[in-house]
Amino acid sequence: MISVEGLHKSFGELEVLRGVHTRVERGEKVVVIGPSGGGKSTFLRCLNLLEIPTSGAVLFDGIDITARNCNKPAIRRRMGMTFQHFNLFPHLTVMENMTLAPKKLGLMGKAEAAQEARELLERVGLPDKANEYPGRLSGGQKQRIAIVRSLMMKPEVMLFDEPTSSLDPEMVGEVLEVMKRLALQGMTMIVVTHEIGFAREVGDRVLFMDEGRILEEGPPDQIFSDPRQPRTRDFLNKVL
């Protein structure tokens, strides 16, 4: 579904990605781990073109989305993304946050969008927050809303950029729960996270990234219990 070939990204002098190769199949759950500054987030952000790769290609369903003439909004509609800091729109209610994009892009009528939003809110246990502004929600609630806001676009793949890193510990569970259910429904997911438990439970494959490359990849059991690379072992010793 997504095929990444020789991805490089530099910010000025700083080379953040130094040749990333991988493939993600439809329905697969890929978890990306690794030390900060290793390029995990940049890699994820290159997939939906929030960062434009310096060189290399990202093929999405066979389309090279790094081509100059690629319709970025059209590609991004097919990929949902949630962020470490949620990035809900503070001037809009939860309902408006969710219905803005489908309505403005002409994908849903007003009533249909509202109906869809209510169903999604129900599913993440927040049906009573529809008319609340984000400022009044807890971090965990915000992130759950951010996830269903992305789902409103009916994406084919979901990208999660450290979705629980800025949450208080007691709120991590509720967000991971929503993500687990999404995984069970067969969503293709690429998750950058430090939640090793989640990676073990949900991940089909784990990528260990450091210094702008994928140093090691494999099934969670192998990576976590029998890492081959010393650098992976070092990292896991520090976080486990």
């Binding site: 939906n48 991004r76 962020f83 990035n87 503070p90 009044r136 951010a146 676009m153």
Partner: protein
């Protein structure tokens, strides 16, 4: 009947009020002057905002020439006195070459001046919105223009409303130099009364009070608008 300074002292306050505002319908001068002040300010504000937004987008644009042009414009406007700009517009640029009314030329001059300040306010407002907001909009598949329109600008507007209101108030008061090109605005109307009655105190105080009430009223409206926009901030 000629009136001299030393006879003023002999008049009672009521007589001075009458002489300054009632005799020869002098209050009408002030009222007409206020009308001119409001008209010129209104046109200038509209022009200033349109120009300011345009200049702000140019300044933030990745196209170097646009950004440079906008920067140079802002630099020149901010670096020269408004009164000189007004006179250049009237005596050099537009007066000799067009048949535009003085008040219109003045409105254009004030608008061009205000645009430079509004541009900096708007630019600051756009930059004040967290970059993540734009990214969230884009990641939902919205275009850049839609993200600007529905996500960044509404938040920027809320952030800059106090500064924008301040600029509006400054602009209204700055139109009191309209007399330099012979437009009879509120300030000049007060001057005319003073010249005829030779009484400085009452006309000037009257003019000051009218400006003050006008600004007070505007501040009140702005505060209400600000409060309405802040509804989403309740925590």
């Amino acid at each position: 009947m000629p009136l001299f300074y030393d006879t003023l002292g002999a008049l009672s306050f009521m007589e001075r009020l009458e002489r300054n505002f009632i005799t020869a319908d002098r209050w009408r001068l002030l009222l007409d002057g206020l009308g001119t002040t409001l008209q010129v300010s209104f046109m200038a504000v509209i022009l200033g905002i349109v120009l300011g937004v345009l200049l702000a987008f140019m300044r933030l644009s990745k196209a170097r020439p646009l950004s440079f042009l906008s920067g140079a414009y802002i630099d020149i406007i901010r670096g020269t006195p408004l009164v000189v700009q007004l006179m250049i517009f009237y005596f050099v640029l537009l007066g000799p070459t067009t048949k535009l009314d003085k008040a219109i030329i003045a409105a254009i001059a004030f608008g061009c001046n205000s645009g430079a300040y509004v541009a900096e306010i708007v630019r600051g407002g756009i930059l004040s919105v967290d970059h993540g907001q734009e990214e969230a909009g884009l990641s939902l598949g919205l275009t850049r223009a839609m993200t600007m329109q529905y996500i960044v600008l509404p938040q920027a507007f809320k952030n800059i409303l106090p500064s924008l209101g301040n600029e509006l108030i400054v602009l209204i008061k700055e139109t009191s130099i309209l007399g330099y090109i012979g437009v009879v605005d509120l300030a000049r109307a007060g001057e005319q009364i003073r010249a005829r009655t030779l009484d400085a105190f009452l006309p000037l105080i009257a003019v000051a009070v009218v400006y003050y009430v006008l600004v007070k009223f505007l501040s009140f409206l702005l505060l209400r608008l600000e409060r309405r926009l802040r509804e989403s901030d309740q925590r």
